[in-house]
Amino acid sequence: MSANTKAISNSIASQRHDHIIAWFAALAIAIHVLESVIPSPLPGIKIGLANIVTIIVLVHFGWRTAAWVSLLRVLIGSLIIGSFLSPTFVLSLSGACASLIVIGLAYTLLGDKLSALGYSVLAAIAHILAQFWAAYWLFIPHDALFHLLPVLLTVAIITGIVNGILALAVQKRLKPLIYESIHTDEQPAKSSQ
């Protein structure tokens, strides 16, 4: 491939890459906003269906795209709900960042040795731990909060598994649709490493 064609294919790829991010982010935002309407049984407990999108993007398009989708979702989602810069937003953001870091590291180490299920569980645990610490240090520095942690962890593992299974199911249907785009998409990303 000549330098010229490589540049063109890169620009096409990056355009398509932007589209993928936008498309998935929009989907995640929609789920995020819809889910915010469902009343939660306990503060801090949420199914986190939007994370399914992050996980699918991660296993199909890599960590960078997943990070974009996840952060855009938190940012724009909070703007739509009206919680931007509120405690809810800070908790959301810290959860999202922590799960991105953890699944990013795990993805580099393990790649496809873990499926969407494994990544989903990892992400859920990282998410709740980070949220918990943020809540403890920033908002409620009370030791009694620690009594909640085991419950939150239990819920995190359950929702992680549920979301993981849903992600796998979605993946099966998506597979034929996005197979081609992955191959054209991941090539430049990989060769640049």
């Binding site: 870091i101 953890v102 590291l105 795990a106 580099t108 180490l109 610490w133 520095p141 009694a144």
Partner: protein
């Protein structure tokens, strides 16, 4: 690629270490010591104080408390017994005694608190307390007879008999006056210890003298948390955090008592009947001054279920919690907001409004 994996692995390890390090609550720079003084165990909790300074302060506080204990002891020969003798001596026509300005202040405060408490806190019950034996390390094992109690009650002076002017204390009645500042002196010495700590540059501390305490400042980035003992169990019934500078005093029927024929006789004697006050199990008072909190805890215990709100109002106390014998709680609205119950199931709570 190899490099990336290694660095990812290292980062993951780092995160694991970070999480475990954070979840293990770090040791706080708190100095703790227990000393025997004032006939009880005094626990000192000093924030941000090293062992050397803490030990030095502990021994100074111990000396100060022992000196105070001796000074105000109603039964061991010392300044207070001299005062009591002078005020009770029938040959001493005037029955007057001069005390230092500092001592006059203490006696004045005790008399003032006695008045606002409707004489339920009474600083001249010496003879009655002694009749029950609660002035000794080891109390009696048998209650006094009804006749002895009536006789002793009749021999006690009333508050009106005592006057104090220009540091001169006079007995204007014909009965002997035997001051006993139990139920008050502990509050005074806790206040003095706090003052001493502040003068020594300690701004964050708890002084707990045999279960009654005053806490100042905080434990760094969190407030001091105080547990209040369960009156019928080993363990904590409820807890609260200290708002900068407060005394927490509890009087309970479990503190000093003896049992005779299945009946419990404890150390909080009702000056009206001469018998231990018997309607509740414990009273906790939170107030900014220990001496007042101490006298109030005693007075409210004696006032009991029916009358405590009135006495609390009269003594200017806004934070009160009563635990009755069935572990039911009566509490003022102000204290209710701050109290956390540590028993399961949570107790039955009634908010009582002061008149």
């Amino acid at each position: 690629m190899q490099y990336r994996r290694t660095s990812a692995l290292l980062s993951l390890l780092f995160i694991c270490i970070l999480v475990t390090a954070c979840s293990k609550t770090q040791d706080e720079p708190i100095y703790r010591n227990q000393i025997f003084a004032f006939g009880t165990i005094v626990e000192l909790t000093l924030f941000n104080t090293n062992d050397e300074t803490g030990d030095k302060l502990s021994s100074e506080i111990r000396l100060m408390m022992e000196e105070f204990h001796h000074h105000w002891h109603a039964w061991q020969n010392g300044p207070l017994t001299e005062l009591n003798n002078a005020l009770s001596d029938t040959k001493n026509k005037t029955k007057q005694y001069n005390v230092s300005t500092e001592d006059a202040k203490v006696i004045n405060q005790a008399l003032a608190l006695a008045k606002t408490s409707d004489a339920l806190f009474h600083p001249t019950l010496g003879k009655l307390i002694a009749l029950w034996g609660f002035h000794k390390d080891e109390p009696n094992t048998v209650p006094p007879s009804a006749q002895q109690i009536v006789d002793t009650l009749n021999s006690l002076p009333s508050l009106e008999d005592i006057s104090i002017e220009n540091n001169t204390i006079s007995n204007n009645g014909d009965k002997p006056i035997h001051f006993d500042f139990g139920g008050f002196a502990k509050g005074v010495i806790v206040d003095r210890t706090i003052r001493f700590l502040r003068q020594s540059g300690v701004e964050n501390a708890i002084v707990n003298a045999g279960g009654d305490l005053r806490a100042i400042g905080s434990a760094g980035n969190r407030p001091w948390r105080i547990g209040i003992r369960h009156p019928r169990d080993l363990g904590v019934f409820a807890s609260l955090t200290i708002d900068n500078d407060e005394a927490v005093f509890t009087s309970g029927d479990y503190e000093r008592y003896f049992e005779h024929n299945g009946q419990r006789y404890h150390h909080i004697i009702d000056p009206r009947s001469g018998y231990p006050a018997n309607t509740i199990a414990s009273v906790t008072v939170v107030h900014n001054d220990s001496a007042t909190a101490d006298a109030a805890a005693t007075a409210l215990f004696i006032a009991g279920k029916q009358h405590w709100p009135r006495i609390a109002k009269s003594m200017g106390i806004e934070h009160v919690m009563i635990i009755d014998k069935e572990n039911k709680v009566e509490i003022t609205a102000k204290l209710a907001q701050r109290m956390e119950y540590e028993v399961t199931p949570p107790p039955n709570i009634e908010i009582r409004h002061l008149p």
